[in-house]
């Protein structure tokens, strides 16, 4: 049994310490907005924030998240008010199938926290999530729109 702080709430989670944080979040806490795409930190679909930084939760042992503040996509909005990245995503009609988009949104939210007005080069260097539908053109537009919001 370990204790995880997720979206401002404390959760007692019954997992082995080396269980990936992704599966603790999905299967123990029950938050399924964080997605499995590869399990080897390649695709970014599982991106969450750990103490404010974007991390790929599929390769982080749950035990390494103890004592940290975890934010998942479900905790990004303030109540019913969407985060500016989420809003830009809706305004620009970014998601296609949408499966990778929660991870993409989390990665971008962390980027904007770091660099409020990112350049295209900042985006290229930081946002490395895979999207098989190919939403990148709209993603880039929406990042710049969110930065201006």
């Amino acid at each position: 049994m370990i204790q995880l702080n997720i979206n401002g709430r404390s959760h007692q989670v019954d997992v082995e310490p080396n269980t990936p944080l992704l599966w603790a979040i999905r299967e123990q806490v029950g938050l399924t907005g964080t997605k499995y795409g590869c399990g080897v930190a390649q695709c970014g679909a599982c991106t969450v924030h750990m103490d404010g930084a974007a991390v790929r939760s599929c390769v982080i042992p749950a035990s390494a998240a103890v004592g940290k503040k975890i934010t998942t996509i479900e905790g990004l909005a303030k109540g019913s008010v969407l985060h500016k990245v989420q809003k830009a995503w809706v305004d620009h009609d970014v998601p296609q199938c949408g499966y990778c988009q929660t991870g993409m949104v989390m990665a971008v939210a962390a980027l904007l926290q770091d660099k409020p007005r990112p350049t295209d080069a900042d985006i290229d260097a930081t946002i490395t999530n895979i999207c098989r539908c190919g939403t990148f053109q709209q993603v880039r537009e929406a990042i710049h729109a969110a930065a201006k919001a």
Binding site: V15, T19, P20, W23, R26, E27, Q28, G30, L31, T32, G33, K35, Y36, G37, C38, G39, V40, Q42, C43, T72, I73, E74, G75, L76, A77, G79, S80, L82, V85, Q86, W89, V90, D93, V94, P95, Q96, C97, G98, Y99, C100, Q101, T102, V105, I123, D124, A125, I127, T128, N129, I130, C131, R132, C133, G134, T135, F136, Q137, Q138, V139, R140
Partner: protein
């Protein structure tokens, strides 16, 4: 039956309303927010349309949403004829079981071949028009006036002579009791008059997708549910010999270790992570069979022999190619090759099944609910009235989730071993990579002949490689005398994939060389390789003739005005007649596929001879009609991600009979840094035939870039992926 499985419409609405404003923590709904079952307590107007007293409209369509926007587009077409208030529209999927009971009123469920809109636009519009007529008749009856005196707009019926109005919601109940008018007498709107269709409406569901509320198959939760991880014999055709369950049955959470059919073994546990961990630790004994000797090299050698084989199926011919080649002043030839590729949907394959002797239910992201239904019938052994499939929106499909329902069969087989318990079967990415239904391998020998004046006198395109239909739809191949007509997509004599050139003497033929690797319909299907073979070789021929590649193509396009129009459109927009900006090099390609005409022109730079940056792509699409231009733009831009990932990075190689690539580190996909700027030209040409959008553009991505690479370096690259040539996308 558990309460949450037997959710009534009312409960469903309350549940979704409760989470609508905030976040859905631990959402227990068996359906996605946008994928309610068609079991409304409010009576329907007709199969397509349900209108509630508050004027909200539910439009039911059978095709599947996997990111391509088809549900939004189809709803726009229904709403256009219905003349309802678009802001009040939502959609839901009917189930295959309901479709069966109602004499397939919703038509085909199959969502592939870019057919979602182009083959159902007529009956969905008729559905909307019929519903509108019934609503008007109900209002007219209420007012005791003639229906012809009433008009409709934005869900309001107006009696013109008196100005009386009533909303759809108020008369929907009465309308549903009226006899439906005969669709034969209905005149659908001229697209010129469209107000909802033809407009760039936002697709449904974006808010759910960016908040994590959207429930994918992977996310489904049912009370009492267990999770399964599976491994099928990695050598296709091999069998499961045995496994040592005792080694893992004591591991945490493990409930069952079981054989699934002849070829697979699964572990069932409380969580999927426990199931997967135990499966990874399970000693498995495979009977690999004779295919374990097959490798990429042995397959390539077999295909290579086909390039000069005497027997080949003729796909398209004109004139007399033999004489043309024999009498040529000179001939040039080139050999091309295209590899196996995996669809790599972001959401790996999955299905959830619950079986009892009286009922088998499956929840699945599927491109074809009826194919899933058929798989449930077969795997459960139950009759149709005891089976049902609930569709969920897909986390990508690309052709993997339509004709192939292997994951459904597996889930039902496992659920049969645990009657009453819902079993969620999830594939790992590794399983998804190993057990693809792969883009077929193909080699091609192109030969062109010129006379003494550099006129092209003949073209021979010899394909050698795998047939998809021989494996997936053998009856079609049998009927065609052994030929696979789909092999000739993009170079066919006629139809939705007809060749966009007329050559004086031409032969396109196919030496079929099938392998043990299961092929499938991979977004774009056979146009992907055919466009590379044809459009790169057209460049080679133009170069050999000392002519500009666009001018050279135009010589053979007099009878193909719509192909020519898209080619001209991209040439003009990119400035083909003027020199490219310093350091940039251009390439171009065109094709007709899925009844749409597409062309692309690109600008690339090449550093150090191998670092390719695609700066800009101009793409033109003539799909006859443009139901939602913004979604077409997104499909076109996304097509370049799919097509260029395939060109630069993707190959599934075979070693010891199995696919070697197991995850994205060895089967890569483009990232945002590599994304070119895409400019779409949407130029619907009208006419009786509607074209598809999801697939055609993919095929022009690769040849346009390959032709630009030649322009930049003087090197012809004739096999995919470019990583095998040391070329990378930056």
């Amino acid at each position: 039956m558990d309460q949450s499985l037997n959710l009534s419409r009312r409960e469903f609405l309350i549940s979704t309303a409760a989470v609508g404003g905030g976040l859905a923590l631990g959402l227990q709904l068996p359906f996605g927010v946008n994928a309610a079952i068609a079991a409304d307590v409010v009576p329907e107007v007709n199969a397509w349309v349900v209108i509630r007293p508050d004027d909200t409209v539910v439009i039911r369509v059978a095709r599947s949403e996997m990111g391509q926007g088809t549900i939004t587009g189809l709803a726009q077409l229904v709403a256009e004829e219905l003349e309802c208030d678009w802001s009040k529209v939502s959609t839901e999927y009917p189930t295959p079981g309901q479709n069966l009971k109602r004499n397939r009123v919703w038509g085909a469920f199959s969502t592939g071949g870019s057919r979602g809109i182009r083959t159902s636009h007529e009956y969905v519009r008729q559905g909307g028009a019929v519903a509108r007529m019934m609503l008007v008749q109900a209002a007219a009856n209420q007012w005791k006036v003639a229906a012809s005196e009433c008009s409709t707009a934005d869900s309001v019926i107006t009696h013109q002579p008196t100005g009386r109005t009533v909303t759809y919601g108020k008369v929907a109940n009465a309308a549903g009791k009226l006899p439906a008018p005969d669709v034969k007498g209905i005149k659908l709107k001229d697209p010129k008059d469209w107000k909802i269709a033809g407009k760039s409406m936002k697709r449904f569901g974006a808010a759910e997708k960016v908040t994590g509320r959207q429930v994918y198959g992977f996310d489904l939760k049912l009370p009492g549910m267990v999770n399964a991880a599976i491994m099928e014999c990695p050598v296709f055709g091999g069998k499961l010999k045995g496994f040592d369950a005792a080694k893992v049955s004591g591991m945490k959470g493990v409930k069952k270790v079981l054989r699934v059919g002849d070829t697979a073994v699964a572990v069932v546990a409380d969580t999927w992570w426990h199931a997967k961990t135990a499966l990874d630790a399970l000693p498995i004994d495979w009977d690999l069979g004779a295919n374990a000797k097959v490798s990429s090299a042995s397959i390539a050698a077999d295909l290579k022999a086909g390039l000069t084989a005497s027997q080949a199926f003729v796909g398209n011919k004109s004139g007399d190619i033999k004489t043309a080649l024999a009498g040529a002043a000179r001939t040039i030839d080139a050999e091309y090759a295209y590899p196996y590729q995996n669809h790599a949907c972001m959401e790996p394959m999955n299905a959830t099944a619950r079986y009892t002797p009286d009922k088998c239910e499956v929840w699945v992201p599927t491109q074809d609910g009826e194919a899933s239904f058929a798989a449930v019938l077969e795997a459960s052994g139950l009759p149709a009235d005891k089976c049902e499939v609930y569709k969920l929106d897909l986390g990508g499909g690309f052709g993997r989730r339509g004709a192939f329902q292997d994951y459904v069969t597996q889930a039902v087989r496992i659920a049969r071993e645990m009657p009453g318990t819902p079993v969620k079967l999830l594939w790992s990415r590794e399983e998804d990579m190993r057990q693809g239904r792969f883009h077929p391998v193909m080699q091609c020998r192109m030969t062109g002949s010129f006379d003494a004046n550099n006129n092209l006198t003949g073209l021979h395109m010899r394909l050698s490689g795998q047939s998809i239909l021989a494996s997936v739809r053998p009856a079609i191949v049998e009927k065609a005398g052994g030929k696979d007509p789909a092999t000739f997509q993009g170079v066919a004599e006629s139809g939705e994939h007809s060749l966009g050139y007329t050559f004086p003497n031409m032969l396109v033929d196919h030496a079929m060389r099938n392998t043990h690797v299961p092929p499938g319909f991979w977004r774009g299907v056979n146009i992907n390789q055919n466009a590379i073979f044809l459009e790169c070789f057209m460049d080679e021929l133009a170069h050999a003739a000392g002519e500009d590649p666009v001018a050279f193509r135009r010589r053979f396009m007099a009878k193909h005005p719509r192909n020519l129009a898209v080619l001209n459109a991209v040439a003009e927009r990119i400035g083909w007649d003027k020199p490219a900006p310093m350091g940039l090099h251009r390439g171009i390609a065109q094709m007709k596929a899925f009844d749409s005409f597409v062309a692309a022109a690109c600008e690339i730079s090449v550093e150090g001879g191998n670092k390719v940056k695609v700066h800009r792509i101009v793409a033109a699409t003539d799909s006859g009609y443009a139901v939602n231009p913004a979604q077409i733009e997104r499909q076109v831009a996304g097509s370049f991600v799919y097509g260029l990932s395939a060109l630069f990075m993707q190959e599934c190689t075979v070693k010891d009979g199995r696919i070697e690539q197991e995850n994205f580190h060895s089967y890569n996909s483009m990232r945002i840094a590599q994304m070119p700027r895409v400019e779409s030209i949407i130029m619907p040409g009208g006419g009786p035939i509607w074209g598809g959008v999801g697939e055609p553009t993919i095929c022009v991505a690769a040849p346009a870039v390959l032709n630009a690479f030649f322009k930049a370096t003087g090197k012809r690259i004739r096999s995919v992926p470019l990583k095998n040539h040391g070329i990378e996308m930056v």
